[in-house]
């Protein structure tokens, strides 16, 4: 019997940043495949293009900062940022949109704040919000699910042409349109139920979004199983979104979307499992993560329903990133062996 004397922490296995990041990359694969299957080659091209750009920018800025390039490039954090941004962009986003987004994410939102671990805001979400504010037309031109386009949906080379060669405005209208979230917002006086029957993207296309959300959900469950993050953040976000949307839907079903709709369209699932769980920008303690996630769920519903933009995950996450240090301050766990400080008269003893 070997008695090996080791000091704490007695970890079974060393978990490095690169291992975690690789697992995250792996877990987005179902989502990426689903996006490619239901919305064409665009997303895949976006993700590859964004990854190349991210590696380039990351290498350049690390060089500028006099840090070892190879060491930081192989932690895969830039790739994860690029992947999340690539998944969030519209599938036919022109090449320069991705370029601006990745530049903002890697250079401004990540490295100007001090690099991995120092950034107060989720880089991919900063880039997404900036692009949405700056280029609303290109950012809201979402692709229709392939099932809704008869015949001429762009193939691989045609998609490459659209992304890198410029958009032919007369053509693009035939395979782009509103997302379900957008369609439900701008439904011209129809009740929710009428909109579900009358608006084509809701009647025929919404299944694509359900499938993509299911794929992200699977990836998330895989990460949860591999203990990359805890259940607190995602679950509390999904529950708070469900609760508030149920509340409004129960009171006035004609005016609001149902809870299932809110959970399975837009970026809800991507946000819940890949953005809310960001170890750097989220709250730290378990209690903090619950509050953080719940507030994001609440904000998503509020901004989706009464705000100016169709989807709200980026804005909700950024707002709560801002609040995360504050949440941490008030949810610091008590150290083992200490009681909570008693306040008032009794505390004196």
């Amino acid at each position: 019997m070997a008695l090996i004397r080791t000091s704490s922490p007695h970890l079974h296995k060393v978990s490095r940043t690169s291992d975690v990041m690789r697992l995250v990359l792996l877990a987005t694969l179902p989502g990426l495949l689903a996006m490619t299957f239901f919305f064409g080659w665009g997303t895949l091209i976006n993700v590859i293009w964004a990854s190349l750009l991210a590696l380039g920018f990351e290498a350049a800025i690390i060089k500028l900062r006099n840090r070892p390039v190879r060491y930081y490039l192989t932690d895969y954090s830039a790739l994860v940022t690029a992947l999340l941004l690539g998944l969030a962009l519209p599938p036919f986003a022109p090449w320069w949109l991705t370029l601006v987004g990745v530049f903002v994410a890697i250079v401004i939102a990540k490295h100007l704040y001090g690099g991995l671990g120092q950034n107060p805001f989720n880089p991919a979400m900063v880039a997404y919000a900036l692009l949405l504010v700056s280029f609303p037309v290109d950012m809201t031109r979402w692709t229709l699910p392939t099932v809704m386009v008869d015949g001429g949906f762009p193939g691989l080379f045609e998609t490459l042409g659209i992304i890198f060669g410029g958009i032919d405005a007369t053509q693009i209208d035939s395979y782009t349109g509103a997302t379900p979230l957008d369609a439900l917002r701008h439904r011209g006086g129809l009740t929710t139920e009428e909109a579900w029957r009358a608006v084509p993207v809701l009647a025929d296309g919404v299944g694509a979004w359900h499938a993509v959300s299911a794929a992200y959900f699977m990836g998330g469950i895989f990460l949860l199983y591999r203990k990359v993050f805890t259940w607190h953040g995602p679950l509390s976000m999904l529950i708070s979104l469900t609760v508030i949307s149920t509340l409004f839907f129960a009171v006035e079903p004609d005016a609001y979307g149902d809870p299932f709709f809110h959970l399975t369209t837009g970026a809800t699932m991507l946000g819940a499992f890949f953005i809310v769980t960001d170890p750097v920008t989220a709250a730290t303690s378990n209690r903090g993560k619950v509050i953080y996630g719940a507030c994001i769920g609440l904000l998503i519903y509020v901004i989706r329903t009464w705000g100016g933009y169709p989807d709200a995950v980026a804005f909700a996450v950024l707002l709560m990133n801002l609040a995360a240090p504050f949440i941490d301050q008030y949810t610091q766990p008590r150290t083992y062996g200490h009681q909570k400080a008693r306040r008032g008269m009794k505390g004196d003893a």
């Binding site: 601006v100 401004i108 100007l112 900036l130 504010v133 700056s134 280029f135």
Partner: protein, 233 residues
């Protein structure tokens, strides 16, 4: 005096630049630097006010009681701002409309108040006028650089609408950097100003540290290179 004058000029333009080092007057700086013409307009207005207020404060510095100096400074500054406002209404009315509330708000520009209290009320008229001019020029320079950055990035042009300030002949000064530019709204909005300002401050710090390094490298050579002999350990 000339060494003093040099120091005053250098302080205003670089070492103690109101925008880059003192970080004063940020509100108008961030709000109106969407284009070069706005930046020049506000910069010139601020410089004139700063000149006038430094001159007046320094001329009357012996008669101003210490305890009520700040209200008196504010009144002096406010009267100059009113004068500038009327002048702009007369000669650059359209620009006056564009700059709007930020012209009257020059009264509350801490850079101007700061110079009155920190410099003009302790120094001679000549030195105060020079200080006002240099601080004003330093402030204007930062405004113009930031305005140019944001205009180039946000709208793809440079020196657009200069006729608002320099008469009809200036209409042809406009340079279109990129034809068919779609516009980058972020640079035009206030967040773009914050990021741009941060980059400018960083740039100044980089230049300063490079200069410092060079000075350090040159020093040992001039010392004659005294070598220390290690005697312990």
């Amino acid at each position: 005096m000339s060494a003093d004058a040099r120091k005053i000029a250098l302080d205003g333009l670089w070492n103690n630049n109101p925008a880059l080092v003192q970080l004063l007057g940020l509100c108008p700086l961030l709000a109106v630097t969407g284009s070069v013409v706005n930046a020049i307009g506000l910069g010139v207005a601020s410089t004139l006010v700063l000149l006038g207020s430094n001159l007046t404060v320094s001329a009357f510095r012996k008669f101003v009681p210490e305890s009520v100096r700040l209200p008196i400074f504010v009144m002096i500054i406010a009267s100059f701002v009113t004068a500038i406002e009327l002048l702009m209404q007369a000669f650059a009315y359209e620009l006056y409309l564009i700059l709007g509330i930020f012209i009257p708000l020059i009264v509350t520009n801490c850079a101007i108040m700061g110079r009155a209290d920190a410099f003009a009320c302790k120094n001679t008229v000549g030195a105060s006028v020079l200080d006002g001019l240099m601080m004003g020029l330093g402030f204007t320079a930062v405004l113009v650089v930031l305005g140019a950055m944001r205009e180039a990035l946000g709208l793809g042009t440079l020196f657009a609408d200069m006729q608002l300030l320099f008469g009809p002949a200036a209409e042809s000064w406009k340079i279109t950097l990129i034809d068919d530019y779609k516009g980058f709204l972020f640079a035009v909005l206030p967040p773009g100003a914050f990021v741009g300002m941060g980059l400018l401050i960083a740039l100044k710090n980089v230049i300063d540290s490079r200069l410092e390094q060079r000075r350090q490298q040159q020093k040992p050579e001039s010392d004659g290179g005294v070598e220390r002999v290690r005697v312990t350990g």
